[in-house]
Symmetry: none
Subunit: 297 residues, 2 copies
DNA sequence: CCCGAACAGAAAATAGCTTTCAGACGTGAC
DNA sequence: GTCACGTCTGAAAGCTATTTTCTGTTCGGG
């Protein structure tokens, strides 16, 4: 025989203020004071115990409980839970006006909120704008490639390295190049069946376009990862993966949001390739995980 | 002397699921079951008493209270209030059902949507969980530092490089090290007035802890950027910046989401420093922009 | 002025939360 | 293997918060 479970009955979490107003005339003096306190400052009251609220309203515990009952809850405990929910709801409703730029004198908490908000926006934009057909083509090319070279300089160089690192981990032959000269000299060795990927936000970075052009002319498959789908880099690209460009400002250079966007595309590319090469990718991932384990204490 | 008022301490109403994930590795079996129940069904758990939740998770009241403490609340009562708030929040938020893992045969469009969703979630969690006090301290230290060394290997190495690159661009003396030997040999040169930053998701990467320890012992200010706020690396860190841990799976290794989180923190750190050194940072940013312009066609 | 009804608060009773303690379970050393 | 040690866990005791009960008070009507 199980013990009877007490159900929490939450009649009307949102319209509590309304209910207080409706009921007010039928409430007694003391009860009204409690009801008003609760309606005025749900968050504050949620933090109080029966005794606390009784003190605050200059009444007794019994009155507080009676009021809670009148408002439709089984007891004060449940009113308090509803109050906490209401408070959370109110907090979230307050849109923090995140549309403004980051300024020199924003407090750090605002900086965090604004950056997070902007990056989230960038991700949503990127996902919405990403052409899955092009991605599909790039994934297929990568999964079948004999060898993959990735070009990127500056901030995009890190993205290029990230992609190469990931692909290496699932057993593909991938290299990232940040040095134009080296990139060009290795690009001449590519041919049909190889894949070259250029990462550049502006789409106009010569150091990256150059090796991609060489790879393109040698017959390798080429992919451009860029925020400007009609820029110079795309003329040598078989497939173009578009990244999104967010609002930028003095304290938030373009490099920052483009990176977020580029990395999402890189992740998609990676997962796509891992799916298609699952038979080799899965054990490779597991093995690299194992290998790293003993590097940790 | 007035009676001490017990404050309701609500450390992290939004990112609770994230916190559970972050703390999970350091939790014991029973505690983890409680934490998971709470993260999985906040609304349901909010309706339960200590005893009820203990029964539901097959543990004891003591364990439930202990878990509540670990999650940062003074006791179960307060956790329950936070849960009620969270539940209300969820009801209004209506999250779409993107909660499933990425599988081998997901079409690419789904992969994109799921990855974008997860990364957005990670960003929100990170922002919610980031301790602005610690960030403030790190920013102040960085802005005043004679020299800044950043340590990171593997995926975190790229994050370390990203941070160093950014700080360099606003005229600070910053270097990223991926080579443990080099990192240690440069760390011995640090002293009070210098800053060392370690980036490691697990918090247990020896190659990164070692140089940080050296820097710490030499009297430099030290910062750890980690997803495990109670891990080995933090014992040598003056300030700990917590990154968030997302759900991971076979096709989505931890490295992927930790990177997103780490980069957000890096951006916050960077913008904070740029604000505090605005007089030199602004012209430096403008100058680096100019300098790059002619590298583009 | 007295009576009755409703109200309010004090105090008792209970339910729920927290703390303590001792046994159980691993873990590492010898 | 086994012994010692530290950690984890749940049972029960202890305490706080909530609920109920009960009695004094107030106010309107006879």
């Amino acid at each position: 025989m199980t013990k009877a479970v007490k159900e929490t009955f939450s009649p009307d979490p949102a319209g509590l203020a309304a209910k207080v107003r409706t009921l007010a005339p039928s409430l007694t003096r003391s009860m009204r004071r409690v009801a008003e306190a609760v309606a005025t400052d749900p968050a504050g009251c949620a933090a109080l115990t029966v005794t606390g609220l009784a003190e605050r309203t200059g009444t007794s515990e019994a009155t507080v409980v009676r009021t809670a009952r009148l408002l439709g809850y089984p007891g004060y405990r449940d009113l308090r839970l509803a109050l906490a929910g209401l408070a959370a709801h109110q907090r979230s409703g307050r849109a923090p006006a995140l549309t403004t730029d980051i300024t020199v004198d924003d407090p750090l908490a605002d900086v965090v909120a604004k950056l997070a908000h902007d990056e989230r926006q960038t991700l949503a934009d990127t996902a919405a704008a990403l052409d899955t057909g092009q991605l599909e083509a790039a994934v297929t090319a990568a999964a079948a490639a004999r060898r993959i070279d990735v070009y990127g300089v500056g901030a995009s160089g890190l993205v290029a390295q990230d992609l190469a690192q990931k692909l290496l981990r699932i057993g593909l032959v991938a290299h990232a190049h940040s040095d134009t000269h080296l990139a060009v000299t290795t690009a001449v060795q590519l041919s049909a069946g190889d894949l070259a990927i250029a990462v550049t936000h502006s789409g106009a970075t010569r150091d990256v376009i150059e090796p991609l052009r060489v790879a393109f002319e040698r017959g390798a498959t080429t992919v451009a990862l860029t925020g400007r789908p009609k820029s110079a880099v795309t003329q040598y690209a078989d497939h173009v993966l578009a990244t999104s460009t967010a609002r930028e400002s003095e304290l938030r250079p373009a490099a920052m949001s483009s990176r977020t966007s580029q990395l999402l595309v890189v992740d998609c590319l990676f997962v796509g390739v891992a799916q298609r090469t699952y038979a080799t990718a899965a054990p490779a991932l597991a093995a690299s995980y194992e290998a790293l384990a003993h590097r940790h204490r």
